[in-house]
């Protein structure tokens, strides 16, 4: 067993939630960059602020570790729901995280590389200000997927976010790059203030692309309501299907492209 691990040079860390938390926990230490090369005891001792109280990961999780490797070869598995643990995978650069349940806000925020898979629901601000890597949410997602947090002029700048379920309002606010794919429906105003990213919505939505400066929004389902700030500009093909093309937001002299059926 030991020999095999050394050959494959993988590290697998499993976190199993011990208790149901009521006050949010800051889980920014849960990422391959921090866990790589650490033993179970070392990981258990990492800080995890619970509200204004400094606690450790051992207060919330049982931890098992197999092997020891660099961040790129480190996989973290969270066995269960972590609905009150925020900021998992914040700023991670490599490796992978698999969350077998629901997760709280800010999962994968500022992520630069590697991958995160959420099997359940991800709360608001998933992948906010992400710069690279891949975030897959198999369930639904909350508000502000891939957006810039309050005051930021740029949300996601690179990487990909895929939501297999529905996403709530304001998908990709202040997007500056990267690709967001929502396979279900979204709430109001996806791509608000888009400044250069791509959003593909396979389901339905309403009022897309207000204040869009640059970038592309493709809506494969129906758009319940259009904001009257777009100029129709003929027809464009996207992946072999033709769409009505709109450009705008004309109010701010934007050159964004909105493709609607």
């Amino acid at each position: 067993m030991r020999l095999r691990q050394e050959v494959t040079e993988m590290q697998e860390v499993t976190l199993t939630p011990k208790i149901a938390v009521k006050i949010p926990v800051d889980g920014e230490n849960i990422k391959p960059d921090t866990f790589a090369g650490k033993s179970a005891a070392e990981i258990k001792a990492l800080d995890a602020w619970n509200g204004n109280t400094k606690m450790t990961l051992s207060d919330f999780f049982d931890v098992t570790v197999n092997g020891s490797a660099a961040p790129g070869e480190t996989k973290i598995i969270i066995e269960g729901n972590v609905t009150r643990i925020k900021r998992i995978g914040e700023g991670m650069t490599a490796g992978s995280i698999e969350i077998r349940g629901d997760v709280d806000m800010h999962v994968g925020n500022n992520m630069r590389g590697g991958s995160i898979v959420v099997k359940g629901y991800a709360d608001g601000w998933a992948g906010r200000e992400m710069k690279g890597g891949e975030l897959i949410i198999e369930g639904n997602a909350g508000h502000y997927v891939g957006s810039g947090y309050r005051g930021e002029s740029c949300g996601m700048r690179g990487g990909t976010i895929t939501v297999n379920g529905n996403a709530a309002d304001f998908v990709g606010e202040h997007l500056c790059g990267g690709i967001i794919t929502i396979k279900g429906n979204t709430g109001i105003m996806p791509g608000i203030s888009n400044n250069g990213g791509t959003i593909i919505i396979e389901g339905n939505t309403t009022m897309p692309g207000a204040e869009m400066q640059k970038g592309t929004i493709v809506i494969k389902g129906t758009v319940a309501e259009m904001i009257p700030v777009y100029r129709e500009a003929g027809v464009e093909e996207y992946e072999g299907v033709s769409y009505r093309k709109f450009t705008g937001d004309v109010v701010i002299g934007g050159k964004g492209v909105l493709l609607v059926k």
């Binding site: 810039g148 947090y149 309050r150 005051g151 930021e152």
Partner: protein
């Protein structure tokens, strides 16, 4: 009471003509004294540089525009978050840090006094509330007069006595230190969507000109014999070609002198006022012309307004220029209307080394500091947080002290910084004494506080900064990084005799004083009555509050330090 002695340090104290002498400094009861007893605490400063505490004469650290910046920049507040400790409060922010962070960070740089450069009388109460939340350093502020209706009414009536009475009353109402003038007349015009473009343009509803506003206020300033000259942000800030306006403004005061040992005019953040060219495509530095003027004329002093690459939050009483900025950069914008006293604007910007205009401006600030020969008449500032946050002062100090660092830096910025300025040909490197003058001794003297601040002689406040630099051993040309590091984290900062910083960490947080100038006592009763009558009318007809609720009460100055105007 507590006694302390600093031994073996290399003491630089230009006001007392001391340039790196090994000398003991004795401290008792917050003052520097001749000698102390045997039980005094000993600080061994062997191999270290001993300066008077830093004195920032132009910065924006308190008031409603700061809060406007904080509110519109939640993303800034997420930077530099430091949790509270047993002695320090929580800290946040970079360009618009919270009040605690401002106090701690100034102290860490070895600064012990800072002047807020713009207090509208109407908002002064808020400024003082914030002052009382800025720990450690002494604070003071300059009161805005350049667009006040009463000022322009007095000038139209050619009534200098009434104007003088108003300035004295305004200083008391705001508990301010001196006369600040921002884009005279232009901000009033901005209330109607316009601006003035030269010093002889007419301000519509008052039939006065910016030139008159400045000369009359200067006259009032000198009649009151205030410790500081009028402190002016001239018209046309940030417009290519504006150097001519600035020179014209300076010429208004040519040959004038003060009863005090100081110039009659302070021109602030001169970098922003020294552009040649006619648009942002052909903009060029005219700093060589400006610096020659300063070198040939004694009536004025200047400060740099150095630009720092990265994030900045511009905030000024110059409302129209902020509207132009916001439109040009598609940036966030707030506009303030201060009723009968002008206005303001706040716009966050990002200065990039790759943008030609920004690179030129970055070079111009240094050009000014290196070309002006008399360090007593130029102050090191970044116009925090307009040119960049004050925490970057050590970077500016290192740039001015090493032509090698400048050369390295120039290679990494837009090439027009080398072509449109004369920075590459300047090989001057400031000495430790010159730097001391530009950051403490000279600034304290320009503000008229040279008796107690900016020096280490007997009788001075025990505000002292000790840095991990041995001027005898360091090669400033090569070891600029070490210089920057040393200035970033003072080995010791002593404020009023208390060690507030040790090895770059806060060790105590005493509350500093709020310094203000009382000029009311010399005002003739007749002028006072006439002015008050005017003000009663203005409050009745125009202000949104009553005169009884206007003046800052004593309760707002928990740690006041009153200076009487007139004496010297």
């Amino acid at each position: 009471m507590s006694e302390m002695i600093i031994k073996n340090g290399c003491v630089v104290d230009p006001l007392n003509k001391i340039d790196c002498e090994i000398k003991d400094i004795c401290i008792k009861d917050g003052k520097i004294v001749e000698s102390v007893g045997r039980n005094a605490t000993v600080i061994d400063a062997k191999g270290k540089l001993v300066y008077p505490g830093g004195f920032d004469m132009h910065t924006h650290i308190a008031g409603s525009k700061l809060n406007a910046g904080r509110m519109m920049r939640p993303e800034d507040s997420r930077l530099n978050v430091v949790a509270r400790t047993d002695i320090t409060r929580p800290q946040t922010g970079y360009t618009v840090p919270n009040t605690y962070s401002i106090g701690y960070n100034y102290a860490k740089l070895g600064y012990t006094t800072a002047f807020e450069a713009a207090i509208p009388i109407l908002k002064a109460r808020h400024t003082h509330e914030e002052f009382e939340e800025i720990p450690i350093i002494d604070k003071s502020g300059l009161t805005l007069f350049g667009n006040n209706w009463e000022v322009m009414d007095c000038i139209r009536e050619d009534n200098i006595d009434k104007l003088t009475a108003y300035v004295a009353w305004g200083l008391k109402a705001s508990r301010g230190y001196g006369v600040k003038i921002v884009n005279p007349g232009g901000v009033e015009e901005w209330g109607f969507g316009k601006n003035v473009h030269g010093i002889h343009d007419i301000v519509s509803n008052f039939d006065v000109t910016p030139a008159q506003i400045m000369t009359y206020l200067s006259e009032a300033n000198e009649r009151l014999n205030l410790p500081h000259a009028i402190h002016v942000h001239p018209n046309n800030l940030g417009h290519p070609g504006n150097y001519e306006t600035t020179l014209e403004t300076w010429d208004l005061f040519k040959g004038k002198t003060s009863k005090r040992d100081r110039p009659v005019f302070h021109s602030t953040h001169v970098m922003f006022h020294s552009f040649g060219g006619s648009n942002w495509g052909n903009v060029e530095s005219k700093i060589n012309v400006m610096a020659d003027y300063v070198n040939q004329n004694n009536h004025l002093s200047v400060d740099m307004g150095q630009l720092i690459f990265g994030s900045a939050t511009t905030m000024t009483g110059d409302g129209p220029v902020q509207y132009a900025n916001a439109r040009m950069f598609k940036a966030k914008w707030t506009n303030g209307d201060t009723e009968l006293e002008g206005g303001s604007g706040v716009v966050p910007l990002f200065y990039s080394a790759k943008v030609s205009a920004h690179a030129i401006m970055w070079a111009m600030g240094q050009e000014l500091a290196l070309r002006v020969k008399d360090p007593w008449r130029i102050a090191l500032t970044t116009d925090h947080p307009n040119g960049g946050p004050f925490v970057n002062y050590p970077e500016v100090m290192a740039l001015l002290m090493s032509s090698k660092k400048r050369e390295e830096a120039l290679a990494n910025v837009h090439k027009l910084a080398s072509e449109r300025t004369t920075l590459p040909e300047l090989d001057r490197e400031l000495t430790f004494s010159e730097l001391c003058i530009m950051t403490r001794a000279g600034t304290a003297r320009l503000m008229g506080l040279q008796e107690t601040k900016g020096h280490l002689g007997v009788g001075a406040d025990a505000d002292i900064a000790i840095y991990n630099i041995d001027p005898a051993k360091i090669d400033q040309h090569v070891e600029h990084e070490a210089i920057k590091k040393a200035f970033q984290k003072a080995a010791y900062t002593i404020k009023a005799g208390v060690i507030v910083v040790k090895a770059g960490e806060i060790t105590a947080t005493p509350m500093g004083k709020t310094i203000w100038v009382n000029a009311s006592e010399s005002i003739p009763a007749e002028a006072e009555v006439a002015m008050q009558k005017d003000m009663d009318k203005k409050f009745r007809n125009y202000y949104s509050l009553s005169k009884a609720n206007y003046m800052v009460q004593d309760e707002y100055l928990v740690h006041p330090h009153e200076i009487k105007a007139g004496g010297n």
